[in-house]
Symmetry: C2
Subunit: 330 residues, 2 copies
């Protein structure tokens, strides 16, 4: 009898060990056991424990993420710009006049430097030609087609695989803890909505981004949304808290960015009362990704680095904090 | 032995009956067994059955509801206008100049007809004074305070109890079937967000409405969203499909409105491919609520009634289709 009792005790202890081994399976397994990982877990645990003084009700667990450079890569240039240039080339046969018209002529000659030199005016012309004067459904189909065939110039991978494995785990971890996850990005909202759900598990209505105006029109009995060549919202810098206000309608308690374009989003998020977490991804990994910050023409991070300690923001060091960067090819 | 077997069989049958009795408990119990109730249930069942040719994946189950006259009452005038007039009175001590300035003087004298006669220009002045040049948090607190004390002139109930019990059941029923429910209303988005979650179970980010512009500003080290006296979106008529596009990012498969301001939302929703349902609430109940349609200055419904049959939209007859209108007082 005594032996049977001890056996059962042993069995119970074994089961307990097994169970706890499962329950502590690391939800952030691609993160090294760094200060930034600890800060994330400490925050999530204290805001989700019912008896914690920092408890946040589930309806207020709002987490916002920048996209370019935070959820997916942004080098050598924003992927949406590559889309626009590719579209100009694809549309060129129907626009013979572009052969002599700038900035289109430079795009067609592949002279990216001269395209960039055309400045805001030139880029607006490219934006209007490739993003406006078409229905929302046509634009969606164009982006969807492009994503299937376009490849990143350095890695030769589809753009929607140039995403960060540790960030996918973080999105899942937050959602498993009752957070509603949003994108708040300078990128085009209609562009990101094409892939955000499949790629990040973020549905179209939880994507906030820059947008152009649109109108509703019934053409030959068929209603359509027509995208117009006129800016509606620039969801960058001061525009991010405004976008959050207009689209999400409450202040996040968690915000993650990577550039000075995210400064105001983090400032707005972490200035609220109660527990808050602001994070900046520092691109320090020239070998596995890219290393850039203060002097970069893309994703410049300078003021954020200066003020992070003072503001209590966590700086994630890609090289030292992440075990892997991109997910394994599918 | 045989008797024991029969007993167990009986018990099993009893449990089965009990279970199915629970599972058929009517989720729309405030609806009479009318054609409109049948149309709703038929639609939900066919789009949620995996083996149905009309199956809609959960991520695409988007349902949009107008607010004024669809989820809550809108007579004798839109409740948000009553809020604005009440605010003018509350703010008057700090604005002695309003005693002689129109349309404020008329508001303070209680001459609503003259206020209305001041037209769009007058209403914009009232809107600017009561909705703009303050932080989003100040506005939220003002509306929240007002809801606690203001009472409807006819029923003496708080405005957020002037809601329709059958619609609350419909919202729950759709959500239980995997639909994401949104408000798409001509009303002010920041106004509705104050009560939508508690009243309808619709979180702030699932409320689309008319809005004014906003800016982000750091005042004495404290960041704030300042509401500006400038229109951003009029979410009415052609503005509703535009609002749906900009905020929700995909076409709904279910839309419910009550006035010609909802015509384009229903048109856009039901013109898509696959199974669709468009509904209009017809205010036919002078006894329990109000009876109005073609000639009403609030919630006019004329073109919608003309075209409903042709467009395949379901017209809900409040008087005949609803067992109760308002929920029992709390």
């Amino acid at each position: 009898m005594y032996i049977r009792y001890k056996l059962r005790l042993l069995l119970a202890a074994g089961l307990l060990l097994l169970t706890s081994a499962f329950s502590v399976a690391d939800p952030l397994s691609s993160w090294n056991d760094s200060d930034s990982k600890k800060a994330i877990i400490r925050f999530v645990e204290k805001v989700t424990r019912k008896d914690s003084p920092d408890f946040i009700p589930e309806s207020q667990r709002i987490a916002t993420f920048d996209n370019d450079g935070t959820l997916w890569a942004e080098q050598p240039v924003y992927f949406q710009l590559i889309y626009a240039l590719d579209q100009v080339k694809k549309m060129a046969p129907k626009h013979p006049e572009w052969k002599t018209q700038e900035p289109f002529a430079s795009v067609l000659r592949g002279d990216t430097q001269k395209v960039m030199a055309s400045g805001k005016e030139g880029l607006m012309k490219i934006l209007a030609a490739t993003h406006a004067n078409m229905t929302a459904e046509e634009f969606h189909a164009n982006v969807s087609d492009w994503l299937k065939t376009a490849r990143h110039p350095k890695t030769n991978r589809p753009y929607n695989e140039m995403i960060y494995q540790p960030m996918l785990e973080l999105l899942d971890y937050l959602r498993a803890n009752g957070f509603k996850t949003f994108i708040v990005s300078g990128g085009g909202v209609d562009f990101m909505r094409v892939f955000a759900e499949q790629t990040y598990g973020i549905p179209p209505d939880q994507v906030v981004g820059s947008s152009i105006k649109a109108k509703y029109e019934v053409r030959d009995g068929t209603p359509a949304i027509i995208k117009l060549p006129e800016i509606n919202l620039i969801d960058d810098k001061e525009g991010k808290p405004v976008g959050i206000h207009q689209y999400i309608g409450q202040r996040p308690s968690f915000a993650f960015g990577n550039s000075d374009g995210d400064y105001q989003m983090l400032e707005w998020t972490t200035a609220g009362t109660g527990a808050r977490l602001g994070l900046l991804l520092h691109h320090t990994d020239a070998k596995r990704e890219w290393a850039y910050d203060r002097d970069s023409h893309i994703g410049q991070l300078s003021k954020g680095l200066d003020d992070a300690a003072k503001k209590g923001w966590t700086v994630v060091d890609m090289k030292n904090d992440w075990k892997v960067v991109f997910p394994s090819p599918r």
